[in-house]
């Protein structure tokens, strides 16, 4: 009886909500059930972002470019100490505070990038085959072209031509170039799913193509989609840092990323006396990347090779 009661209790709620929210909730619950570890890891990252957000709101840490003074003189070029955990640079800026801001913004940047490229990958990889016909041919042609399109040089090219570059434009440029491999792998999954019977069953319930794509196909390629998200996140952060380091990023001081911190401290590079300044942003980048790599490989483990039928 318990099952029936549960169903009876749940039902009236569903009636009131729109069908989209029901679908979203179902999908969310299904994710939680199936991807427990990954879910915890991602939640951990959300907590990290919240902590960083709170830390950067503390007055002492709120301005990355605040020039600190000790007594009457500026605290320039100090080695790491209790007051300045990673020391200061010539302009008396606290390196630790800069990296704190840089980390937070780099994570936001990566998330933005990943959202954009994942959305594009889903659009071309899932909805292309589902709309079918010309749209399908077109989407696969676009994917094939972008696949071999020289992304990094093109990103440089566009970035160099823009006189003023905000971080949003850099994000859009990177995000809109790093999806093709993802679209292709999602697409190949969707093509095998499209022939499964449950898609036919849904069609016989007179559901629309878009709705089937969203509620039946997307949950099944979710592992791929989340994997794509993680990888695009990594690509986004690393590429942005590379572009910023060459001086082709957002050079305003409102949104400093780890790449900006590297670019800002370029003169210190390779200097044996200032390891604290030039090594630390890179180490933070490696750490972020590794965390995402762990998440990503836990996803890969869920692709049990034994279950790769239909290939």
């Amino acid at each position: 009886m318990t099952f029936e009661k549960k169903i009876l209790l749940e039902k009236p709620e569903e009636q009131e909500r729109s069908s989209v929210s029901i679908m979203l909730r179902k999908v969310f619950q299904a994710i939680k059930l199936r991807y427990k570890t990954q879910f915890t890891l991602i939640m951990g990252l959300v907590v990290l972002v919240i902590i960083l957000e709170i830390l950067t709101k503390i007055p002492r840490l709120s301005d990355p470019f605040y020039s600190y003074k000790i007594g009457a003189s500026y605290a320039s070029n100090l080695p790491p100490s209790w007051d300045f955990w990673l020391g200061t640079d010539t302009g008396s800026h606290d390196i630790f505070v800069m990296i704190l801001h840089g980390t937070r913004n780099s994570i936001y940047f990566g998330i933005g990038c990943a959202l954009l490229s994942t959305t594009l990958a889903i659009l071309l990889g899932v909805f292309g085959p589902f709309v079918g016909g010309k749209a399908d041919t077109l989407s696969s042609f676009i994917t094939n072209i972008f696949m071999v399109f020289p992304q990094l040089p093109f990103i440089f090219f566009i970035a160099s031509l823009m006189k003023t570059r905000s971080w949003v434009t850099v994000m859009i440029i990177i995000g809109s170039f790093s999806w093709p491999w993802a679209a292709r792998s999602i697409r190949s999954q969707v093509l095998t799913l499209r022939e499964r019977n449950f898609i036919k069953v849904s069609k016989m319930s007179a559901l629309g193509n878009m709705r089937i794509a969203f509620s039946e196909v997307v949950p099944n390629v979710l592992t791929y989609i989340l994997l794509v998200f993680c990888i695009s996140f990594g690509i986004g952060i690393i590429t942005e840092a590379g572009i910023s380091m060459l001086g082709l990023g957002d050079q305003g001081q409102n949104f400093i990323t780890l790449g900006f911190v590297m670019w800002y401290h370029e003169p210190y590079n390779m200097s044996p006396h200032y390891y604290n300044i030039w090594i630390s942003p890179g180490i933070v980048l490696v750490l972020i990347y590794l965390v995402f790599f762990v998440i990503q490989s836990s996803f890969i483990n869920t692709f049990n090779p034994r279950t790769r039928e239909n290939k």
């Binding site: 071999v148 040089p153 590379g242 490696v286 890969i300 090779p305």
Partner: protein, 366 residues
């Protein structure tokens, strides 16, 4: 019902295939109809990509706010009365053909490139008025001599490590695997500084970054100098790119290790080394499709590294051109980079066609 369709087709194909193969001589077998078809379709495909890319290279500077000439005007005409400025401007516009409608400009651009290989003149103050092509071409070998060995070495090294770990997952093997992966995770431009510090400042194995690389000449001393600078970018690119291959190779190897034919051969009592070879070969083939993406990445990485490690390749010229808004140079370097990537991808696809027996020997229609 695509599945039914393909099933039916495959059945028929396999019948015609056997009869076709019998008729062919060995030379015909090697370069088959379907191989030729692959070459032709790939040529057309990459030409389309190249065309789109150079069209974008033409179009984007004209869409981005700010005229290409503004910068030159700023240099040359500040302090002059406005009427003179206007005159200079119209003269310059006529000189560069900017007063023409955009499609005429486009046509001229294509004509100049395809017929004469000409992108215009550089405005760099060190080399004013030189044809861009003459400045770019000497840098090309430097980029390629780093990028191509990297591509080949990382492919085999990464797959070997991955397969080695995947075949027998012992602890020391896993440790090596994770070290390789962590190196791949490092942002390469930053890693370049770290490596440079270790190898140049601390160990003093290579010449300092500030010393410039001499121009190429058939002279032993010059070559030695060039190669002393050459190792660092190569080692770095290999370290960074090996990890990506080994993840793929490892999971492929785990898959192959558990597959039916290996288990069966094990039961039959095949030699361990033979099994390993079979599994390695089969796990390698799907990896080839990743070469295209990897080649693109390596070229991009080389471009950045050249700036960081002061290696006189295409990237250095490109970034220098960015910093002084040398438009002809920016477009020229960009088109040349695309050209390299497109040619590289084409060659990779063709060699994949040579490796894959289904394409090489042929028989599949459509």
């Amino acid at each position: 019902m695509k599945s039914i369709e393909t099933n039916i087709l495959e059945e028929e194909d396999s019948q015609t295939k056997t009869s076709l193969i019998k008729q062919r001589t060995t030379t015909q077998k090697f370069i088959s109809n379907s191989f030729l078809r692959l070459v032709v379709t790939k040529l057309i495909f990459y030409f389309i990509i190249f065309f789109i890319a150079i069209s974008l290279a033409f179009l984007i500077p004209r869409l981005v706010p700010g005229n290409p000439l503004d910068y030159i005007n700023q240099l040359g005409s500040t302090g002059l009365p406005p009427s003179y400025q206007e005159q200079i401007r119209t003269y310059m516009e006529q000189l560069f053909g900017l007063d023409q409608p955009i499609w005429v400009q486009y046509w001229r651009f294509l004509e100049a490139f395809f017929l004469h290989g000409d992108f215009g003149l550089s405005i760099d103050l060190d080399t004013p008025g030189q044809p861009v092509m003459d400045l770019i071409l000497p840098t090309l070998p430097y980029t390629l001599m780093v990028a191509i060995p990297t591509l080949i070495i990382t492919f085999f090294l990464g797959n070997l490590i991955g397969a080695w770990v995947g075949y027998n997952e012992t602890k020391p093997r896993k440790v090596i695997y994770y070290i390789v992966l962590t190196m791949g995770a490092a942002p390469f431009y930053w890693f370049a500084y770290v490596l440079a510090t270790i190898f140049i400042t601390q160990l003093q194995l290579f010449p300092p970054l500030s010393t410039s690389v001499p121009n190429f000449a058939w002279d032993w001393a010059v070559l030695e100098q060039i190669f002393s600078h050459f190792w660092l970018p190569l080692i770095l690119l290999i370290m960074v790119n090996t990890g990506g291959w080994s993840t793929g190779a490892r999971s492929m190897m785990i898959y192959e290790r558990g597959s039916g034919y290996i288990l069966y051969s094990q039961k039959l009592g095949f030699k361990e080394s033979k099994l390993r070879k079979y599994a390695y070969r089969n796990s390698l083939l799907p990896q080839f499709t990743g070469l295209n993406m990897n080649f693109n990445n390596i070229i991009g990485q080389t471009l950045i590294l050249e700036v960081v490690l002061n290696w006189p390749g295409l990237g250095k010229v490109m970034i220098d051109a960015f910093s002084i808004n040398d438009y002809a140079m920016i477009i020229g370097t960009f088109v040349i980079v695309i050209f390299i990537i497109v040619i590289g991808n084409f060659l990779i696809d063709i060699s994949y066609g040579l490796l894959d027996p289904r394409i090489r020997i042929g028989g599949q229609e459509g």
